[in-house]
C-alpha cells in the first residue's frame, strides 16, 4: 500500500525525517507538558476525597492535546508546515496526472497517519495524566477518536483556506489561526454537540457519567465532524479540479 499510495508513502517517509514540522510539534508538546504540570494534583488524596472531586489533570491534558493537534492540523492543511520531502495538494493536482479522487484519498490517509503520530507523541503525557486522574479507558478512547476526526476536519479546513486564498500570505496565516479559535469558541457556545471542550468535560470531568453509559455524545461529535469533513472534501476537490483545469489549459495554449 505504501508504494501504491504516493501521498501516504511520502508522509510516512517524512515522519522519519528531521525538520521544522517535528520541531514545531515538539514546541506544542512542551506546552502540553506545562499544562499537565500546572494541573497536577495539588491537594492530597485525603483532601480530594473529602471534597468529593478528583483531579482534572486528564481533562486539561486532553483539551490541550486536542487543541494543539487541531492547531497543528490546520496549519499543516494550509501548508505552513510540511514534512521533509512532502508536497502540497495543489502540486499533486497540477503536476501529476493522478485522479483527484486518488489524490484526495491518499491525502486523507496520510493525514490520518500523521494525526496518529501526533497522538503517539502526546500519549505519554496523556497517560501520565490518565493514571492520576482515575480515567476510564473507554472515555480515553472516545476522546482520541474525537481528536482524529477533529484533526481531519481542521486539516481540510486549512487546505480549503490555502487553496482559496493561499496567494495572500498574511491573510492566510491570520485566517488559519482565527478559524481554529473561532471554531472552538463558537462550537462551545452555540453547538455543544460539536464542541471538543464540552465533550471532554462530559467524558472526563467529575460528572459521574462515564463514556460507557453515555456514548451518544462522542458519536454525535464524530458524526458532525465527519459530515463537515465530507463537505470540505467536496470543496477541496472542486478547487483542485479548477487548478488542474487551469494548468491543462495553459499547457494546451503553450
Amino acid at each position: 500500500m505504501w508504494r501504491t499510495e504516493p501521498l501516504l508513502s511520502e508522509t510516512a517517509h517524512g515522519l522519519l525525517g528531521h525538520g521544522r514540522a517535528q520541531l514545531d510539534y515538539l514546541l506544542y508538546l512542551a506546552l502540553q507538558a506545562v499544562v499537565v504540570f500546572a494541573w497536577w494534583p495539588k491537594s492530597s488524596l485525603r483532601e480530594m476525597l473529602a471534597a468529593g472531586d478528583g483531579p482534572d489533570t486528564l481533562l486539561a491534558a486532553m483539551v490541550a492535546a486536542g487543541f494543539a493537534i487541531a492547531w497543528y492540523s490546520v496549519r499543516a492543511g494550509a501548508e505552513e508546515v510540511l514534512l521533509p520531502g512532502q508536497h502540497g495538494l495543489r502540486e499533486w493536482a497540477a503536476a501529476t496526472t493522478l485522479p483527484l479522487a486518488r489524490v484526495l484519498g491518499g491525502y486523507l490517509a496520510s493525514q490520518a497517519l500523521h494525526t496518529l503520530h501526533l497522538i503517539a507523541l502526546s500519549a505519554p503525557l496523556l497517560l501520565v495524566a490518565f493514571s492520576v486522574s482515575g480515567g476510564e479507558w473507554d472515555a480515553l478512547g472516545w476522546c482520541l477518536a474525537a481528536i482524529v476526526f477533529q484533526a481531519t476536519f481542521y486539516r481540510l479546513a486549512g487546505a480549503c483556506i490555502y487553496l482559496f486564498i493561499g496567494q495572500f500570505g498574511a491573510m492566510t496565516i491570520l485566517s488559519v489561526r482565527g478559524f481554529v479559535i473561532l471554531a472552538f469558541v463558537a462550537s462551545a457556545v452555540f453547538v455543544p454537540a460539536a464542541s471538543f471542550l464540552r465533550l471532554c468535560a462530559q467524558l472526563l470531568g467529575n460528572t459521574g457519567s462515564p463514556a460507557a453509559t453515555a456514548p451518544q455524545a462522542p458519536l454525535s461529535f464524530i458524526a458532525i465532524h465527519a459530515v463537515l469533513a465530507a463537505a470540505l472534501v467536496v470543496l477541496v476537490r472542486w478547487q483542485l479540479a479548477r487548478v488542474r483545469g487551469v494548468v491543462h489549459a495553459g499547457a494546451a495554449r503553450a
Binding site: 525525517g17 507523541l121 462515564p210
Partner: protein, 679 residues
Amino acid sequence: MADVPSARRQFPGHGSRRAAPRGVPVAAWLLLAACASAAADGTPPSAADRPGLVLQAVLGFSDTFRPGRWTPVTVTVSNRGEAVSGHLEVIGSAGDEFREQRFEVTHRRRLELTRDARKRFHFTVHLESLAQPLIVQARSAGRVIARHAIDLRQRFTAERLILVLSRDADLDYLNDREGKALRVLYPHPELLPDHWQGYDAVAAVVLHGQSLENLGARQYEALRRWLASGGTLAVSGGPDYALLRTPRLAALLPATPVGMTPIADAAAVGQALGVRLPGPRPVHVNRVTAVLGQVRAEVDGTPLLIEQAFGAGKVIYLTADVARAPFSRNPDMRDAWPRILGLAPPAARTPRMAAPESPVPAIVESRLRGFPGHGTALLFLALYLSVLLTGYRVRPAPGAARWLAPVATWAAPLLFAPAAWLVFGPLLFERGASVAVAAVIEPLGSSPYARIHLDVGMFSTRDRPLALEYDGLEPTLRVPTASRFAGGPADWVFGMDTPHSAAPGDARGFRLHLLEGRDVVPFDLEARITLHGDRMQLSVRNDSGHALDDAWLIWRGSAWPLGTLAADARFEQFLAPDPYAVESNREEWWDVLERHPGDVARRLELMKPVIAREAARRDAGEYPGVGHALLMAHTTSPLRPAGASGHWQHRALALVLLRFPTPAAAGGGDQEAGAYVEN
C-alpha cells in the same frame, strides 16, 4: 332488496357502519380496569405479574418498633405460582427530608422458591424516618414482581421494650407505668431476631415456661451475643424446672434447679424482693445447686434472685414462678420488676454524644499512597521532551541502517507511553477501588465474645459502581450522621447473602463513602494483675484465635511493652519498673508511647482519635480510669474484602482494647483482681 329502515334515512352513516370485531370492547374495558387498578394503589403494573407470590412481613416485635433503633423484619414469602429466582428487598428511608437529604437503604437477600414453597427471611434494618413506608418487594430479572408497603406511623413506640417469652405470664401492668417508658410485648419465639442487633430496642427479655431449644441456631446465637453486649435475660423458675435444665438455658443460668422448696414466710420473701406479698400461704421456689452467680436476694439460705454477668449483660434467675400467685397480677410487681431487671430510669440515661470524626480519612492518608509529587512529574516530562529533542537534533550518520530512522522517530513515544502508565499507575499511585477499615475490638469479660466497633470507608479513583464484598463479620452497617451532608448522601444497597456486600449508589470516583457498624463476635481474651508482695504479675489468656501484636499494658499512668501475644497462648510476666511513665499532669499515656521506637509510634496518630473516642464513650475524664488497667494491642482486621472485592487495596487498623479491673492496693500479701471486664 328490502327498503332502508327509517333510522338509516335520519342517520345516514348508521347503515354503513361495519360490525365491530367481537371482544374488542371487552378487552378495552379490561385494559382500562387494569390501568385504573394499578394507578389506584400506586404500584407499577409489573408488580402484579406474579399473583401467586405473597409477601407477609412482621416488623419489630409483635409489629412494634422503636424509631432510631435497629429493628428485626421477618418476611414470609409464599409462592403458589411458577418457580421464582431473584431477590427479596427491604427498603427503608433515612436522612433529613426537610433538607432534601433523604436517601434509601436497601437490604437484599437472594430469593429462590419453587412452586408451592414458603420461606422465611430475617432482616435487621435501622428505621429512622416514619414519613415513608417500609417497602418489602421481590425482584426477578430486574422487575418488581411482588410488593408490600408497611406504614410505620401506626407501629412505632417510644418506650423501651420488654419481651416476655411465655404462654402464661402477664406483665401488662408494666405498660401503665408513668415515666418509666416501658412497653411489654409477647413475641412468638419463631419470630425472634437472627442477628443480635435486632434486640437494639429491647431492654430485657423475660423467659417463663419456655426453653430455648426451639430457637434456630442463629436465633440462639443472636440472643447470646445480645446478652454479652449488654442485654438482660430474666428467667423465671417454676414447677416445670426441667425446661431450665435444657442445654441452651442451662448454659446461661447462674444456678441449676434440682427441685422445689416451700418458703413458709411469704412476708420474708416479699421483703427480700421488695414486694408486698399477700396472705400467709407459703411461696414455692426452685431449689438450686451449683450457684455460680451473685445471690441478690435470699430467705434463710434459699436463693430467690441470682444474677450472673455475661459479658456486659446479665442473666437473672428468679427461683419463684412469676406467673403464679402471689406474684401474678400483683400491683407491687410494677415497681419490683425494673429493680429486678436493673433498668435505669430513662431520665438517668446519658444523652447521645455528638458523633466523633471517623478515623478512616486518617488511615487513607497514612496507609494509602497519595499522588506522585510534582517533582516526579516534572522529571518524567522533562526526560521525555529531552529524548525527543535529542532524537530530532541528532541526525543518523550516512550509511546508517535504514531501520534506525523509524526507531528514532517512534521509539521514544512508544516506550515512554507504557512507562508513563506503569510508573504513575501501579508503581506510584493505586488506581481502582480501596477500602480502609478501623476496628476497635473490646473483649467482653465473663463471656467468650468481644464487641467490635467498625468504621469503614471505600472509594475508587475511577468512575464506576462500587460494591464492597466482605467476610469475617456480619455487622450492621449504617451511614454515619456526620458524613451525610458532605456532598449529599447516596442510596445504599446491603447484600445479606454470603459474601455480604455494601454498595453506594454514587458511582463517581474520588468519593469517600463512609459506614459505621457494630458486631459481637467470638473473641476470648482475659487478663488479670496479681500482687505478689510488692511485685505485680500480669497474666493474659489469649483464646481469641488471633495473635496480638505490639501489645501494651497501660496502668496507673505507666505503660509496659509486652511484645506479641500469640494466639491460643498464655502469657505471664512480672511488671518491672517501666521507663514509660507519665511524668507530668499535662502528659497522657499515649504521649508516652510516642517515645517508644516501634510500630506504636508510627500508628499512634491513627490510634489517638480511636482511643479518645473510647474514653469519651465512657464519660471518663481519663482512660482506662482509676482502678482499671488497659491491655492494648494490634491484630488482623476482622472485616476483609472477599469475592469480587478480593483484589481491592485494603488498609486496616484493628485495635484490641481490653479494660479490666485491677487490685485495689499494692503490697500486703497476694491480692488478685477479678479478671473480668467491667463495662
